[in-house]
């Protein structure tokens, strides 16, 4: 793979993380547990779509396709998002735990990318970080409120944490191209972020009266295009219009 192809793959990975997380959250529009949470989750989804657009536009400059082609006309195996973001909403506890685990990572990742030698990536990251700060506060506050809430809410949060704990390990795996780009100061060195991420998450989990699940085996594959069965269903809905009516706009 040449440098341009590596960078394209990397930017796509960043964009796919945001767009698939956003698509999952958008399912809750009109279905949030209370009006404020409905609005908050929809707002977060909108921010992530905005970030995905900037990243797709940049990826498109390297590849020649436009943002819509990249979002709507790629199949499952071409998506590079981490597996966590495609996991189903299930219940509000799963939504919050998934969001929190992702937000802590997204924050660190963008923070590192602000220093990228690639000017476009640094500019996008600087912008996105301002928004992710608010996302992380929202999901962290709900971790505390529900974890430290009633016996039922705590149990649901612990169950969600147990269910999802095998996914974040993938955040810190680097593909071959990513390692080369990180050495060149372009990509973020995600492997080095794991201790900080784990310390932040452990602190929150502890404050929320929850327990970090045992074992450190993790799911893997998303960054290489090997996905869980859920992504196909997400894309079927997200890409329907462009698949059924190619080139349609409004």
């Amino acid at each position: 793979m040449n440098n341009k192809a590596m960078l394209f793959d990397y930017v796509l990975h960043l964009a796919d993380n945001q767009v698939i997380m956003a698509q999952r959250l958008s399912e809750l529009c009109g279905h949030g547990p209370a009006l404020e949470q409905d609005i908050a989750i929809t707002n977060i989804s909108l921010d992530l779509i905005g970030q995905a657009r900037l990243l797709f536009q940049y990826a498109g400059k390297l590849d020649g396709r436009d943002e819509d082609q990249l979002a709507f006309l790629r199949d499952v195996h071409e998506f590079r998002n981490v597996l966590l973001v495609e996991q189903p909403n299930h219940d509000f506890a799963h939504v919050i735990v998934r969001q929190y685990l992702f937000d802590e990572f997204n924050f660190l990742n963008y923070q590192a990318l602000c220093q990228s030698k690639d000017e476009d990536l640094a500019a996008i990251a600087t912008k996105a970080l301002m928004e992710v700060k608010y996302h992380r506060r929202f999901s962290r506050n709900w971790m505390l409120r529900l974890g430290d809430g009633t016996a039922i809410s705590r149990q649901k949060m612990q169950d969600a944490l147990n269910d999802l704990w095998s996914y974040p390990g993938e955040f810190f795996e680097m593909t071959g191209g990513e390692e080369i780009l990180a050495k060149a100061g372009i990509a973020a060195d995600v492997a080095s972020m794991k201790p900080t991420w784990l310390a932040n998450v452990t602190q929150t989990v502890k404050e929320a009266s929850l327990v970090i699940p045992e074992g450190d085996w993790h799911q893997t594959g998303g960054k290489k295009g090997i996905h869980s069965e859920h992504l196909g269903h997400i894309l079927a809905e997200m890409q329907f219009l462009q698949r059924a009516y190619p080139g349609q706009t409004w």
Binding site: I39, N43, L46, D47, Q51, E119, E131, F138
Partner: protein
């Protein structure tokens, strides 16, 4: 000529908060008049996902077209990133008049939303509380005044 274009752009309104102009928002980065009928405008988006950005571009296009420009190029510049510090003083005053509390300034900018004191845009009381960190648009949070009991929008710090 450049001044004329700035003047036209200054009158274009934010589609979401129509008391503010694009000048008040601080989103206009640069203007290049290339010919009598050709102009390039550089703008900075506020929030990445803000749907108003696309509408703003359309309105800029329309205003310049009416003023006689037939070739209009609008470029988005994302660095340096837009911040609420770029809201003009006049814009801040207009927001209060409109019932939206402008972003807090100084040290409080980096504080958590729960910890800042946002004066009520209606009665001026400092006794207000946050109801929701996310409000009617991406850029706002929802607050309520404890004195006059009126709920109000707060324009969040983006920095």
């Amino acid at each position: 000529m450049k001044g004329k274009v700035y003047k036209i752009l200054a009158a274009v309104k934010d589609p979401e908060i129509p008391v503010l102009t694009l000048e008040d928002l601080g989103v206009i980065r640069d203007v290049n008049v290339l010919n009598d009928d050709e102009v390039e405008v550089k703008i900075t988006p506020t929030y990445t996902g803000c749907p108003a950005t696309d509408v703003m571009e359309e309105e800029i296009r329309l205003a310049l077209f009416v003023a006689g420009f037939s070739k209009i190029r609008i470029t988005q510049v994302i660095s340096p990133a837009w911040t609420t510090d770029w809201l003009s003083q006049k814009g801040r005053e207009k927001l209060i008049e409109y019932g939206i509390a402008p972003p807090v300034e100084g040290q409080a900018k980096t504080a958590l939303l729960e910890d800042i004191s946002v004066p009520c845009p209606r009665c001026g009381s400092e006794d207000t509380k946050m109801i929701s960190a996310f409000g009617s648009t991406a850029c706002k949070a929802l607050f309520q005044c404890q004195s006059c009991r009126e709920p109000f929008d707060y324009f969040k710090c983006h920095a």
